[in-house]
Symmetry: C2
Subunit: 392 residues, 2 copies
């Protein structure tokens, strides 16, 4: 068991109509001039954006808007947002959307509150000293960014995808109405469920240090998300299942499922960041495409955890050797991914990568983690390449 | 499933030496003059109080001290603390101890930050508008007050025990070193584990509205606490078991295990508050003494939850009628309480209550809940009396 810090200050209002509390919450947290930041068409088409801006207007809270946040949100839009906030004297950010809008808003918040190039924080050259306060109206259950300390941005030049994690960017509030996630496609819903699961699994598959209570919470969360993902694959309008997945998304990445562990493995995410940077695939699908190959490559070095996962999460009978049980757990999770329409290889992801592509991604990934990283198994560039090759 | 709010802003530092961060955290949260509030002898005897005051002195943070918080903390000491804070210009409270010191500090915080009699807030006559910020160095895993919104105070006149719940009193930080709980007696440890379990069970046994993920977290927490309580009954110095129970105590009462439910039943707590007020028994022991009688009185009206509890928490085989399974779950939990040395009746609690005592407690309890309360089953004064009678 490792010492840990736990800090989840985000005030969550969860349920039907939660988004109508935006103006009230912005006021409560001291916002006087707001940037409403959103993505592409869906929040416009659904009328949500209009309802939110009407709400701010009626409450007498001045605001400007900036749309255009895309999956794997771009640095250029972040720069645009920073300039707009400075010009307009914005002191509060309201992200309306999913992880893309939220991560982009967090980056804008860092940029406005600090001098110099915001990309420095994502490259790890400097640490931010502050972040503009932000709130969230969530429309997609996936990244957990609504309560997390993380923001991932892609720099167009070289398609470099990097994350910055500090408590400074944890949202002040998150308004979570499961109804707002109902229009999300079956594929995006499955991507979201996979991302949610991976946030807990990255923390679960580690060597050294764990807490029984954290394991119990993590395993309960994973079982719940799997059950609800299968329901949503058949009935996307099931409110209760949407709600379960939405709340699981927040709990999966706010720190709760990592308390007492070594901080997590995170190599599936790091490998996927390269996929997402190069091919612009959906994050959740990139994760499931790579996970099985990663798991088969590392499980012998983290056998007690893979065995436990197989029995406690996947319901595998504890018969046979630990290796056999662990492998059956990996196979069962891959079968689940396929059942909800997720890819378990690059081919199924729709990516036909050249050898050169794989080498490039492995090299960029290794550089991004200063040569190597991983707790289940420490991976260097050659390991990363082997996993990419196995994932074709 | 009900809409819910979730707000757990407390910054937790968990692990060996966490208490050495007190001065740093007080500064980070803006404290410039501190009241160090503690209980009776144990934090003095252990040297902890001296180490804390040395730390503040070395950091140049001025402070005053006030000891004397007792289990079922008293209103008179709260008044004393309020007067001391006003006289000394205290702007931050540091509670060193368990729930008694923390709840007492919260009450002092309400009293200093609002005009009028602080007891009004506990009687429900007014709502507090503010609370002095407070931090915690936790030495006893039990009440969860280190992250919770609740404070329970006993007024000596008439021995009236009442709670006040608002987000205003949630601690700014909690420093949690499991080593500091190791000197706690086996009996107090068992009392703490029982209190922790009851905080989750009060939220679990409800009619109408629940979330699968909340149930999964609650059941995982309960199973973990039970396993660790049995370890600690044999080996009180087991660091990992102490840590599991300590963290479970925070999670059990910070709101996590109630998300999506109707807000909880809480009648076991309300009944125990009368026991605690009249006989000054340990809170955890009072809860276990009353719980079985409460459960037998209400389980038919909340059968799906009692059945689920039996199977998912107590490991009862799902054979027989729902009533039979539910009853076996109740019996199994009572057997567990006895194994860790907890009472399951007033007699085992060491209380020989007269008929008049029972009638007095039932009446006071009914008045305290404005005539009736309860979600598993709505209880009126005659129900409360019947449960007290069955618990003898």
């Amino acid at each position: 068991m490792f010492d840990f810090k736990y800090f989840t200050p985000t005030k969550v209002l969860f349920g039907r109509g939660a988004e109508t509390k935006a103006a009230e919450m912005i006021r409560a947290f001291g916002g006087t001039k707001v940037l409403v930041h959103y993505g592409k068409g869906s929040v416009i088409r659904s009328g949500l954006l209009q309802r939110v801006t009407n709400q701010l207007t009626e409450a007498g809270i001045p605001f400007v808007t900036l749309g255009g946040a895309v999956p794997n949100p771009r640095l250029s839009l972040v720069y645009e947002g920073i300039a707009l906030c400075r010009k307009e004297g914005v002191d509060f950010l309201l992200a309306v959307g999913g992880g893309s809008a939220i991560d982009s808003a967090k980056a804008i918040g860092y940029g406005v509150a600090n001098e110099g190039d915001v990309w420095d924080f994502y490259e790890g050259r400097r640490k931010p000293a502050a972040c503009l306060p932000l709130g969230v109206i969530l429309t997609l259950a996936a990244t957990g960014s609504e309560m997390s300390d993380s923001s991932v941005i892609t720099k167009e030049e070289g398609l470099v995808k990097r994350g910055c994690n500090t408590d400074l960017c944890r949202p002040k509030f998150a308004l979570m109405n499961p109804e707002l996630t109902m229009t999300v496609s079956a594929y995006q819903t499955a991507c979201g469920c996979s991302d949610i699961m991976m946030h807990t699994m990255e923390r679960y598959f580690t060597n050294g240090g764990n807490m029984e209570i954290t394991d119990a919470l993590a395993e309960g969360l994973l079982r719940t998300v799997m059950a609800k993902a299968e329901i949503l694959a058949k009935n996307p309008a099931d409110y209760d299942a949407r709600a379960e997945v939405m709340w699981a998304g927040s709990l999966s990445h706010n720190g709760l499922t990592g308390c007492g562990s070594c901080g997590g493995d995170w190599m599936t995410h790091k490998l996927e960041h390269e996929l997402g940077g190069l091919y612009d695939v959906a994050h959740g699908a990139g994760l499931t495409a790579i996970w099985g190959s990663w798991a088969r490559y590392v499980y012998r070095d983290c056998l007690p955890r893979f065995r436990r996962f197989a029995v406690h999460v996947m319901g595998i009978a504890p018969d046979g050797t630990d290796e056999e049980i662990a492998l059956r757990g990996i196979e069962a999770l891959e079968a689940f991914f396929r059942r909800i329409g997720m890819p378990t290889s690059l081919r199924e992801l729709g990516v036909s990568a050249t050898d050169e592509d794989l080498r490039t991604m492995a090299h960029k990934c290794a550089v991004g983690v200063n040569g190597g990283r991983g707790s289940a198994k420490f991976l260097r560039e050659e390991d990363m390449l082997a996993i990419f090759e196995a994932s074709r």
